[in-house]
Amino acid sequence: MERLGAAVSLAAELDGKPVLELEAIYREHSAAVSKWVRRLWGPGVTGGSVDAEDLLQEVFLVVQRRLGTFRAEAALTTWLYGITVLVVNARRKKERWRRLLWRRAEPELQLEQEPGAPGAQSDFERAEVSRLVYSVLDSLRERDRTLLILFELERLPGAEISQIVGVSEANVWVALTRARARFKAAFERRYGDVDAAGGASHVDT
């Protein structure tokens, strides 16, 4: 991941004080952040009460508030990723409460996750797998879920994950090993033995 890019004002850099401009950061990184938002939220992010645009806006509002505290000790992208994780997790927490209170919203949310046209068979299958993986991830604790997404899906290196979640790299590996074990157990509780014959397509969702 790149370190500070064009988002740093050159004049300020010459003064030795990098100054980040929100507009420039947004121009350079909003596409990536919107991808992370979707990755961290899961397949339902584009529908229902939560949409990727809202989350993207929330992330950059936090970025705007915290720009002054960015010390360039981490790559800008890592810093942005950390904020995205915080924003998405906070919204997930809020949504859980909201759904608890307004349960009637759920059927519509599920409806929006219905698979697309059977004509696009491979897309359909991939969407199903994605839904299946996220259904197990969603049953885990927030920390396990985040670690597995960052490592198994985003394939970020341990050092970067440690900066994003704010623990040492050694602890990342320990926590990841435990998270994997919990994922496997949750998967088996839902869909039977992981090592059983048959692919994901045999899993009854």
């Binding site: 990536a32 229902g48 949409d51 929006e112 046209a117 090993t177």
Partner: protein, 308 residues
């Protein structure tokens, strides 16, 4: 189970333990999400800019509000302190003047032991009048906002559970409960949720015109289910005013929503364009619909009506 050794992603399948080829396969098959489209990100950028320009004003308003709160609190505290600590002395002076046998050097001394806080039965109780003076403001701030919210939520929950139970009878009960709720908590914190629930109940009861009026007055952007409500509003408007519905349908189609909402929005726009006589644009939408949703709920209808 724990390790300090670096791991490799399951999907790489590089580990010897490669424990779970099936999990590796699963994770490898999860598609990479696409970034938001350019126009969607531009929309967010515009919203951020708008917020930025408003934030300076908001800071000023907040400062003024904090100043007012400090001022009011300070004034109340000063008033309380005046009555609490100075009134007794004034009262004592009055009382001493009344009790004292006459002007003499001993009279003030008699009052000295009770000066800080009059405890004798004769002494006036200053704190009570002071509290009585502050009474109205104390009474106003007494109910905690959270408990009021709790009452509101409990009241609305009655309506929502009826609505959730399904059926027209329950919807009618829900509507009644919502109307009672709105009467009990006018301008409550859950007002928007109550109004949305009212729309739901009216729709179940088939009272489309009322639902449409209610929806038209709702600030949809501030509601959680904004896409769904916008779609319902558009579909209701499409009954007799396709021109008004077209804007909502277009906003939804451009949101690139997946699934049922996108399907309904695309069909709705196509149908409205057809009604308005823009055949070319309508055919584009309906063809796109058939391409994206060949087995969609309106596919048969479109095929039946389109010329082969």
């Amino acid at each position: 189970m724990s390790t300090l050794e670096p791991l490799s992603p399951w999907a790489d399948g590089a580990e010897e333990s490669a424990p779970e080829p099936r999990l590796a396969q699963l994770f490898a098959s999860v598609p990479e999400p696409a970034p938001l489209a350019d126009f969607a990100r531009q929309r967010v950028a515009a919203r951020l800019r708008q917020r930025g320009s408003r934030s300076a004003g908001r800071v000023l308003v907040r400062l003024v509000a904090v100043g007012v709160v400090i001022g009011v609190t300070g004034a109340a505290a000063a008033q309380w302190a005046t009555v609490r600590w100075l009134a007794p002395q004034e009262a004592l002076v009055t009382s001493n003047a009344r009790v004292a046998p006459g002007p003499g050097p001993l009279a003030p001394q008699k009052s000295l032991p009770v000066r800080p806080r009059p405890a004798t039965p004769d002494a006036p109780a200053p704190a009570e009048p002071a509290l009585r003076e502050l009474g109205p403001s104390v009474a106003l701030s007494a109910p905690a906002p959270s408990s009021r919210l709790g009452q509101e939520a409990a009241s609305l929950a009655v309506a929502l559970s009826a609505l959730k139970a399904g059926g027209r009878d329950n919807a009618a009960r829900a509507l009644q409960a919502i109307d009672q709720h709105v009467q009990k908590f006018p301008r409550g914190a859950l007002e928007l949720e109550a109004r949305v629930a009212r729309v739901d109940a009216l729709l179940v009861l088939g009272r489309r015109q009322e639902a449409r009026r209610e929806l038209s007055a709702l600030p949809i952007e501030n509601v959680g289910r904004k896409h769904e409500l916008r779609l319902i509003r558009a579909e209701l408007r499409a009954d007799d005013d396709c021109r008004a519905a077209l804007g909502d349908f277009t906003v939804l189609v451009e949101q690139s929503l997946p699934g049922a909402l996108a399907e309904r929005a695309l069909f709705g726009r196509g149908a409205c364009l057809l009604k308005l006589g823009d055949k070319a644009a309508a055919q584009r939408d309906l063809a796109q619909y058939l391409e994206r949703f060949p087995n969609g709920r309106f596919a048969e209808q479109i095929r039946a009506q389109s010329p082969q």
